[in-house]
Amino acid sequence: MVNLKTINIKGLDQTLYYEKLDNGLEIYVVPNNNHDNYHIEVVTKYGSSIKEFIPINENNYLKLPLGVAHFLEHKMFDMKDYDAFEFYSKTGTYINAGTNYFYTKYYIDGKKGLKKNLAFLLDMVFTAYITEDKVNSEKGIIEEEIKMYDDEADWILDHESKKDLFYTTVNEKIAGTPESIQDINADILERTYDTFYQPSNMFIVATGKVNTKDIMDIIKNNQSLKHKKTNNEIKCKKVKEDLTVQKEYSLLEENIIVPKLSYSYKFDLDSMGKDRLITRLYLSLLFTHLFGETSKFNEKVLEDNLATGFYLDHIFFDNIYVFSLEAESEYADLFKDEVDNTLKNINISEEDFERVKKIWISIVIRGLDNKENLAYSVVDDLVRDNTIFDQIELINRLNYEEMQDIISKLDLTNKSFVLMVPKE
């Protein structure tokens, strides 16, 4: 195993070990002996944003009904001769999984039986046991899961906002709808599985109390027993997201007391003269300063009672970056005007700029204490940015002059507003 990176600023001593197997599977280990437990994730770079692709060994595009990635995640827990939950419960090991737009991950948290538990996880994820019967019985469960979310106003607001902002990629619900999941069957799931759950499209991250050599040996041993296809190029239908928004304004009525709003600006990360990741960091820093807890905007909102609470969010993919503000407000229009006002009069001092950097670095250091958090950052950085363990370095690299340059190139044309009001 190679020592890929070490963070050793300010007395930190965190090392990342890496190896790539012959079949393309990559392994990342960040041991921390101050922990009592281990945390291991197996990840496939396949999420709900992929809607059309050519299945392995086929020639034509397959268009997926909504919710396949998430459905497949549920099905991975079915195994022919074993029950995954039952197996892990014997050692009190926690197992769970999650699907987002860009990847699906399966993870275990435990103290005992690392070797057996990791081997089982690999077997679980690298074999698919999908029957029509089991697929049908899962539909009822997933339907209830979808309905549970559909009852939440914040969820509804978020979904509408994404529908209005985007044409592709993140514009549809990850779990699908009760209707769309009816169109999912064993055949679709198998063909999707065979294509995306190849070792060369996947990687493993281990954090917490882990022995690097043990991890490597277990994985190598497990993989050598499999005859997985490797390094096959996966052909997904290329989508190009338009810079404009689908809809500039939507009005919803729901069972709420105080109106909610979501106001978003859409930016092109290729239009400001720097690479996408750096541009994103600058934008993120800028919006934290402009709309965060110590901002003038926040002061104005409090003084004039423009909202009873708001928070910042962002989403990005390819060259697209969207910054959003979600708020609860009786004065939605005034709130919106104040956002526009702030963006038309951008002001950031060098002191403010450096302060945000200092805070970010503190947050990164804290994050290293939490093995789940750390694994999450590693996974997310790898899939979304193809970088690893670079955060502190990247943050330190940001400078005030470049920030000013980015500000001068901001294009505020593309925006979308969703207002949710109480039902009559």
């Binding site: 014997k90 050692t91 926690y94 899962e138 009822g140 469960i141 209830e144 609470g309």
Partner: protein, 422 residues
Amino acid sequence: MDYKVIDKTSYKLHLIKTNKFKTMTIRICFRDEIKKDEITLRNFLASFMTYSTGTYKTKRDLILKTQDLYAASIYNRSYRSGRYSVFNFYLSLLDEKYTEKGMLNSSLELLSDVIFNPNFDEESSKEAYNYLMETATKKLKSVKENGNSYSVIRMLEEMDKDMPYGYRDIGYLEDLKDITIDRLKEYYKKVINSSLIDIYIIGNIDDSIEELIDKYFPFKTYKHNKVNQMINHDKLPKKSKTIKESDNNNQSKLSIGCKIDTLTEFERNYVLTLYNMILGSGSESKFFQIIREKNSLAYYVFSSLNKLDSLMIIRAGIAKENFDKTVKLVKDLMKEMEEGKFTEEDINVACENYISMLSEIEDNPDAIVETYLAKDLLNLGDIEERKEEIKKVTKEDIINISKKVKIDTIFLLEGDGQLEND
């Protein structure tokens, strides 16, 4: 990990020395008997104190100061625990070796300002007052928005609205109008002077910490008799009652409240825990296996314990038409526990899960502090002891305890099942 508790008369100082974490956490805990008509006021006071102080009169000033301290964080959390209300202030900061010398001192000074120097000046606290009044109003008006938790709140109210567990933790809308700066000031004095106070510190601490605490937290409480924090039920219900309320959710939210008879310490701390796990907590539980996996009736269905209330609460998100079927299954599965229809394997699995959960605690500073609190309240041993004690639970113990758990109130927040069309 080294633990030391020092009785300072006005408060207890708990020192947990460990170098496992990059942060230090200080938690100051004020406990007092909960009074229904003080809940809203108490919640308001907690938020008020972390919003504006004599030195940092606006939220912005306060946040800027924490940012200067390398993103230290100060926050409050209030909740009910049995007959008591627990009011907490937390300070979390990075170890000085990652920041710079003097940060610990400055951070403690800031926390001290929050606790001993609240801003009750009418003029300069106006922003805080108005903002918090708005947010509290909105939060209390929107209580129905989260169907899952609203269903539990309503069920407990229907169970016993005059018992502390029947009180709303978030407070009452009608109480807001009576909150004035003067009332906050009076109530603050009561909290500072007559609560049971515990200070917990966890991190890479050295002996100088005691001096710092003496300096920055000069509590002087006066003692008076306190009631028992734990709630026991005089009698168990012979029959359960069912209440339904409709709402415009898609999904119906079911909450079932069960009362638990008087238990020994061992039963409460260990037997009950395993009973709950086998019945309804986790993927191997009867609820998960039968109600979710076998019958596809729910995505979430689980039971949880409020040990200090002697209650067990069962929750599920279901379709309206499956109410009768789900309730019947819950009753059948509880009966199965009484009849001993579970295996030694089930007990082992639950034991392993419990032991794992204890292990996870050791990786989280907040969770570690919480166990020391629980230790005092429930007379629990330390983590290693607990891992040993749990193995002493027998099948017979679990069967006996099953008979002590009785369904009292069944509440359904009925959805209309109408899905919004996209």
